[in-house]
Amino acid sequence: MKKKRNLLENIIHGVFLILGLITVGCVLMITIYLVISGIPAIREIGLVEFLFGDTWAPTAAQPQYGILPFILTSIAGTGGAILIGVPIGFFTAVYLAKKAPKRVKEVVGQAVSLLAGIPSVVYGLVGMTVLVPGIRRIFRIPDGSGLLASIIVLSVMILPSIIKMSVTALEAVPKEYEDASLALGATPEETWFRVSVPAAKSGIAAAVVLGIGRAIGEAMAVMMVAGNVANMPNSPFQTVMFLTTAVSYGMGYSDGLYRQALFSIALVLFLFVMLINAVLDFFLKGEQK
């Protein structure tokens, strides 16, 4: 009987081990699929030509596959969203974590959760119907969609992640730090910004990195407001394509090398995201220390 039970226990242990390793398997599968399907086009086009070519014209008589416009657009769009979203998110987080009365905190906290739960296509829809016409009218340009509209939509979309994570980090600051600062005669505001914020800095940094990850990976909302033309992002009103939107826009009707090149773009995006994940991991480890 003992032996039978041992066998059963071992089998079950094995089953759980497999279930545990499925996560790892999924990451490996995704990586392998992306590498295998992404490499052929890069080989055919040439790595330098692919990454640094400034013209994307896959359907032209003489097709060109340079994705520099997408890379620069993704960087500009994410950078712009961070520039707008981080200050708003940061000060809101300090307010919520330290200053807000309990009821306000509950209501605004609920609102932030709702903001996080709104599907990205809904952001895109409001962007399409409010933001794009608004930009067109204010700046008197023929088309309001483009880089600026994308940046605004993205900065709103990353707000909840930044706020939530920063609030958690700020709330974890030991109360003794703040009490000591207050006892030394600092005002509450001075205490929050000169004691609590520095103490929570790796958590806040992680929040910013998370926001970068969200912004660079967003596809649908951006696709609805960016204009989707493969231009260099040399003006805020330029219609542009991001790494994400280049993939989703072309996927519907592409074949041959064009389609393969889309997988290569996804591979580049994947590498960007993995880099961001590594940085995020670094800050989170710092937080735990």
Partner: protein, 280 residues
């Protein structure tokens, strides 16, 4: 207090009020605008019919059903995987390195953008057995694996060690302890995980476009899983971007907004309920 410090304090105060005001106003505007634009479009006919070219009407019943199907299918696939992985990590794993690798993989999975899930899902599933809801559900299952895993793990950590020791002391084997003591106590984590996952599935579009497709035909559960179909989010995108039907799009957006609100409320309520239960 010196003027300089006074200025600093007031500057910080004003910045905090300004930022919080912007956040609150944005949320209020978004919710209000979508509801005002959307609710007038929601009629019984809108909810209970399928699109018809003959009468030139648009109904979203197929999209509602597709969403329900895909949520059910995804959860059925992902719960055993996520709970199993969590049980392995908290109950079995002794090797720190293995735990580290699995947790890092889960973190990586939650950081991958949904468009990449869509692409890989297309390569892995749709190219093998066609563009259908099942392919979409499998893709979303991978995507939501970390959510279920992490929430289950959290609740497993709250199961007192003495419960396990007590069961072991009575002569129970490891599997029996897990089945009778550990698993029943992680229900709260699984439920929280399911609610959060359902919210994410509801809002997902990029991962579904190329895996589940965008047909609007009315199907039963089994037939639905085997055929191409748009969820509410995907349908909203198609109506807004490809067909310029903004009324329909806002109608769906209002429904999605209300569902997101409902999911948030239930997640908070469930968390509160379980916290109370655990405190007892």
């Amino acid at each position: 207090m010196s003027t300089k410090r006074n200025v600093y304090v007031w500057a910080m105060r004003i910045l905090m009020w300004l930022a919080s005001g912007i956040t609150a106003a944005l949320t209020l505007f978004l919710v209000g605008y979508v509801l005002v634009q959307g609710i007038p479009n929601i009629t019984w006919e809108f909810l209970s019919t399928k699109p018809s070219y003959l009468s030139d009407t648009i109904g979203i019943l197929p999209d509602i059903l597709n969403t329900v199907y895909i949520v059910i299918a995804t959860l059925v696939i992902v719960i055993p995987l996520g709970v199993g992985a969590a049980v392995y990590l908290t109950e079995y794993a002794t090797n720190k390195k293995v735990v580290g690798i699995i947790e890092y993989a889960a973190e990586a999975l939650s950081g991958i953008p949904s468009i990449i899930y869509g692409l890989v899902g297309m390569l892995m599933f749709s190219n093998n057995f066609g563009t259908c809801l099942m392919a979409g559900a499998l893709t979303l299952a991978i995507m939501n694996l970390p959510t279920i895993m992490r929430n289950t793990q959290e609740s497993l950590k709250t199961v007192p060690q003495s419960y396990r020791e007590g069961a072991f002391g009575l002569g129970a084997g490891k599997w029996r302890v897990i089945r009778t003591v550990v698993l029943p106590n992680c229900i709260d984590g699984v439920i929280t995980g399911c609610i959060l996952s359902a919210g994410r599935i509801l809002g997902e579009s990029a991962a579904l476009l190329f895996t589940a497709g965008f047909a609007h035909s009315l199907n039963g559960f089994v037939a639905g899983l085997g055929s191409s179909g748009a969820t509410l989010t995907v349908a909203m995108y198609v109506y807004a971007k490809e067909r310029g039907e903004f009324g329909v799009a806002f109608g769906i957006a209002a429904i999605l907004m209300m569902l997101a609100f409902l999911i948030n409320l239930s997640a908070t309520a469930v968390a509160k309920h379980f916290r109370k239960k655990n405190a007892e």
